[in-house]
């Protein structure tokens, strides 16, 4: 299969060497392989090889009903499962002209933002690991554990939930979430400050990240980059603000933007987003509307003919679902747009010209998940 990738020694100038990373390498965030052509310590060209986690989810969708397909959506980006679910449900709701009641919308926002914090904490840990520090990983996962406990009370699952349904959420939010979150809200900012003292201001960390992998915004538009990668380069773009969904326009939060467009800015943007997400969850829990937690939805989901594209701000960038319906129980065609796919597409452009060690950091700064890249 990879015959094309094999380059005969005679064809190469003698100074170049080929190094294979992965598919099972701790720095590649899952089963991802890339072949780097290097000149000494510098990377000349990267050839990413993906598809190890390809499960044909788009084809499976054509053979399942809308409800049967929903659990698979969790398996795309398994660190931000609720954001994916939210996007899929919004797309089907748009096809069927259903609007979730205000209480369901608030619960969805709580879910999505808590999941964003959990995903960014993994990034925080992985970023430390990439630069040679092991402690942040343990800290990040420890606090993520608290959020997963909240999810366990809410949805019954810890990683894949099947909690958000078409028309609302599966169950009402239990009162215990309030007490758990209050405890988390009291303890977490203190801890986060301590972590930032440990990592963000660390001289070694800054030297590894600053002025590495600088990306200009004009290039990022062209490559289809989104989310924290785009914001790190100074683009004030967040789908929660530009095309508000699920009542995001009601909440008061800020969009952090980087100035330089390097790896350090992408890191700072994500750390700031954690704080903003905490603000949103606190607001949503304070002003939780009363009423139903699900709209009236027909027993058999049969959207009318038409096609929609709905996107939302996932934990890594723009998550989108393009659904073509022919009025059947199954979607006629379902295309999933994932941020990881677009970002790994950009890897050669972003990393070539840098040192090998920096290429790992740049890949880490994209915060990719192979489950969502390969689908």
């Amino acid at each position: 299969m990879y015959e094309e990738n094999e380059i005969l020694l005679d064809d190469l100038p003698k100074d170049y060497m080929e190094v294979n990373f992965g598919p099972h390498h701790p720095s590649t965030h899952g089963v991802f392989r890339f072949i780097a052509k290097i000149d000494g310590e510098r990377i000349i060209d990267i050839d990413p090889v993906i598809g190890y986690l390809h499960r044909g989810i788009e084809k499976i969708a054509e053979n399942r009903t809308y409800m049967q397909f929903k659990p698979l959506v969790d398996r795309l980006d398994y660190t931000g499962a609720l954001n994916n679910e939210l996007c899929y449900c919004l797309a089907v709701e748009k096809l069927m002209d259903i609007e979730a009641p205000p209480r369901a919308q608030a619960i969805r926002v709580i879910c999505a933002e808590l999941n964003r914090i959990a995903a960014h904490l993994i990034f925080f840990g992985a970023m430390g690991l990439e630069t040679g520090a092991f402690t942040p990983l343990l800290f990040g996962f420890l606090d993520r554990e608290t959020i997963l406990n909240i999810f366990e009370i809410m949805a019954g699952g810890r990683l894949t939930f099947n909690y958000i349904t078409i028309g609302g959420v599966r169950e009402d939010i239990p009162p215990a979430v309030r007490t758990y979150f209050d405890k988390f809200k009291k303890e977490f900012p203190v801890k986060l400050k301590r972590y930032e003292e440990l990592i963000t201001g660390n001289e070694i960390f800054i030297k590894r990240l600053k002025n590495v992998g600088i990306l200009k915004k004009e290039d990022l538009f062209n490559w289809g980059a989104s989310g924290p990668v785009l914001r790190g380069s100074g683009v004030k773009f967040d789908i929660r603000k530009v095309e508000p969904y699920s009542g995001y326009e009601k909440y008061d939060f800020d969009i952090p933007v980087g100035t330089n467009g390097d790896v350090y800015d992408r890191y700072l943007v994500r750390m700031e987003e954690i704080k903003q997400s905490m603000r949103i969850v606190a607001q949503a829990l304070d002003n939780l509307p009363s009423g139903d937690f699900t709209a009236k939805v027909p027993r058999v989901i049969k959207p009318p003919e038409g096609e929609v594209y709905v996107r939302n701000e996932g934990t890594k960038g723009e998550v989108g679902f393009y659904i073509v319906s022919k009025g059947d129980k199954n979607p006629y065609r379902l295309k999933i747009r994932t941020p990881s796919f677009s970002h790994i597409n950009m890897l050669n452009f972003a990393a070539s010209g840098n040192y090998i060690a920096d290429a790992i950091v740049i890949l880490g700064s994209f915060d990719t998940v192979m489950g969502s890249c390969d689908r």
């Binding site: 299969m1 094309e4 993906i50 598809g51 390809h54 044909g56 788009e58 084809k59 053979n63 748009k94 096809l95 004009e218 538009f221 062209n222 490559w223 289809g224 980059a225 100074g234 683009v235 004030k236 773009f237 603000k241 530009v242 508000p244 326009e249 939060f253 800020d254 969009i255 952090p256 933007v257 980087g258 100035t259 800015d265 700072l268 943007v269 700031e272 038409g306 096609e307 929609v308 594209y309 996107r311 723009e318 989108g320 393009y322 073509v324 006629y332 065609r333 295309k335 747009r337 796919f341 677009s342 597409n345 950009m346 452009f349 390969d374 689908r375």
Partner: protein, 172 residues
């Protein structure tokens, strides 16, 4: 670090149509506009895709710089290419559609205009058997290359074999 908060502006699709229509007529692209649930669809001829995309990308008043995704839909008689573009400057979204032949689909690559389209086009080539003309590196992306037919076509059969459970042999 700069932190910015900004408001929400409703987009009117009429404005988008009125801006695109005269410019498309100038370049000689016939565009058929349609709307569905606040989304704007532009139906064009498959031969004009490259011309239309470069107009949308390079014109300063339009500046559709960002490609959300591109995909294809198999309607058996024909295959439809779907391009979804976005303009940061105006906060406009459009979906471009073009019909291809169902048997031997051929379309121009837009990788030279939108570099982000690279892998999307490679995926469409292996999943639908679309010949993407002018693509620099059209090899398999996700698939291993040992399947018969194109997986996302409607005539692709999903096969599986049921296997009997064979208990493992006991070690002496």
């Amino acid at each position: 670090m700069e932190i910015i908060n900004y408001g929400y502006k409703k987009i009117n699709n009429r404005d988008v149509i009125e801006t695109i229509r005269p410019k498309a007529e100038e370049t000689g692209v016939a565009v058929k506009f349609s709307e569905f649930k606040d989304q704007l669809f532009c139906g064009i001829d498959a031969a004009d895709i490259k011309k239309f995309c470069s107009l949308l990308n390079s014109d300063p008043a339009l500046s559709f710089e960002y490609i959300k995704f591109l995909t294809a839909v198999d309607y058996v008689e024909y295959i439809e290419m779907v391009y979804c573009l976005y303009s940061f400057k105006n906060n406009w979204s459009i979906i471009i559609k073009a019909k291809l032949d169902g048997q031997e689909p051929v379309v121009d690559s837009i990788t030279s205009i939108y570099r982000g389209a690279d892998w999307h086009e490679r995926e469409m080539a292996e999943m639908f058997g679309i010949d993407i003309k002018g693509h620099p590196n059209l090899k398999n992306l996700l698939l291993a290359g040992d399947e018969d037919g194109f997986p996302l076509r409607k005539n692709f059969e999903i096969k599986w074999e049921e296997r009997e459970y064979v208990p493992p042999e006991k070690f002496e």
